[in-house]
């Protein structure tokens, strides 16, 4: 990434409270087009909440989220989708009683993609859903439901894609496969934020990571450097991920 390219998303001292609890407590970071940014941190550090605020599910309680330099905090989700933001869910949320094809049709019809999204057949094929296209989404296994979540997002032609633990639960072969897909998407100019616990996966696909703890970033840079920072080791890598 050239350092002077303007960020597509700029998050500044973002605050999100649940009751008295600060799930996000002054989070700041940015991401540029074509970049894959890793968002890592222990459970409960606020990764999903950050994605929820950026994608319009929650309005921020403080700070700013800016898309292309325009503030979008509190804008309704569907409008943000029309402006080029989309996401997947940590626990996939397909329309269970609709067929896979219908799930995608909704997004193709209402997503108002700025750039024409891939056609239905191509999406189904690329994400290995062709065989189950006419089955209700409820019949899919969890990996397929994750792919359907991703395809629904892609059908709206996002410029900024937020992936919340997409790789969790995939087998090694599937991990390699989805890693290549994500890199290919970024190479088209899409900005991608990846939340993931699998460090190998993060290392393989991200350009840069933000380490989150208690709703604040405590590190920004490459994962290779992050693992040497004492504060990061302490709050995040110190426990289960210790070498």
């Amino acid at each position: 990434m050239s350092p002077d390219s303007a960020p597509i998303l700029e998050v500044t001292t973002l605050v999100k409270r649940f009751g008295g609890f600060h799930a996000l407590d002054g989070l700041s970071f940015h991401v540029t087009s074509g970049e894959i940014l890793g968002l890592v941190g222990p459970n409960g550090s606020g990764k999903t909440t950050a994605i929820n605020v950026i994608s319009g599910l929650y309005a921020p309680d403080g700070g700013e989220v800016a898309l292309d330099g325009h503030s979008i905090g509190g804008v309704a989700s569907h409008k943000l989708v029309h402006r080029g933001i989309n996401r997947t869910f940590q626990i996939p949320k397909p329309f269970l009683s609709l067929t896979v094809r219908q799930n995608i049709e909704v997004a193709l019809a209402h997503g108002r993609a700025g750039v024409a999204p891939p056609a239905m057949a191509a999406l189904l094929e690329e994400y290995r859903l062709t065989e189950v296209a006419d089955r209700p989404a409820a019949d899919l296994n969890s990996a397929q439901q994750k792919m359907l979540d991703l395809v629904r997002a892609l059908a709206t032609g996002p410029r900024l894609l937020l992936l919340d633990e997409l790789a969790a639960g995939l087998n090694p072969a599937e991990l390699d496969w989805i890693a290549e897909k994500i890199k290919a998407l970024a190479s088209t100019g899409m900005a991608i934020i990846v939340v993931e616990h699998l460090m190998g996966f993060i290392e393989h696909i991200t350009d840069r990571v933000i380490v989150l703890n208690a709703g604040k970033e405590i590190f920004e840079g490459t994962l290779a450097v992050a693992v040497k920072v004492p504060q990061v080791i302490e709050v995040f890598l110190g426990g289960e991920h210790a070498a």
Partner: protein, 306 residues
Amino acid sequence: MPSILRHLLFIVVPLIAVFAVLPGVYQNHLLLFNFVIFLTLAQGVNIIYGFTGYLPFGYVGFFGAGAYGFAIMVMHYQSPAIIAVLVGGLVGVALGLLLTPLLRLSGAYFAIANLAASLAVLHFVANPALENITRGPYGVSLTGTFNPNDAYAAALVVLTLTLAAVVYLKNSSFGLALQAVREDAVSASMAGVSVVKMRVIAWLASALVAGLAGGVYAWYVSVFYPDNVFSGDFSIFAIVFALFGGVATITGPIVGVIILYGVYNLIGFTTPQYFQLIYGLLIMGLVLFLPAGLVSLATRRGWHVP
């Protein structure tokens, strides 16, 4: 043939044709009229419940409001019946607009609030202080427009339009988006669907249907009291019929009305003493064994039901 045309040709046209000729061969005109009214109301419930998941326990509120919209136009403005029916529909929509804040509630809370709203409208209309406008609790008598044949024809037109609306929902990306909202509102918004707008449109459409049905009902019966046109039976019957057949389909509510309202009248005529019992058991059986309605017998086998 596109499926929208197929649905119109093989479901809507035959049904309307049958109910258009039946008065010539079957003399219980009122019963036929009631069938048409319930076919309409069950589809109105289908639009709001089947496509968005809101269970309208106070659905009769729109029906009664439509009936009184009709009555007021005829009593105070000597309006022709057709115009008065249209006004009935508009009164239904106006009430729907007034009640849009209820859409913020969900599940049982929505159902109960909607029921309460319909009772509020009943007591408002039946208030003796409004005797000059609504005749309050004393009921209305609209002998000037009395014409069962024309009213029946108008009811068929309303049913046709309602069925056409449901066929559209079944075959359009708009209807698909509504179903997506019903399944998961958060995911629907991530598909770019404006959830609030969709819900409001479906809500007003189903209010319009009930308002128009109330208007033609007032035209047909011409003499009624607030308790008649705001009777909770209308809500319950329309909901039970729609659920019995299976919502979010075109045919489910039709099948539900024909079978359940048919059985209802059959046991009402033949064995009135067991009436409540048989009817109650039938509905209980349905809820226990076929919660997704009769159409689920087919969809479970992988057959597509329009």
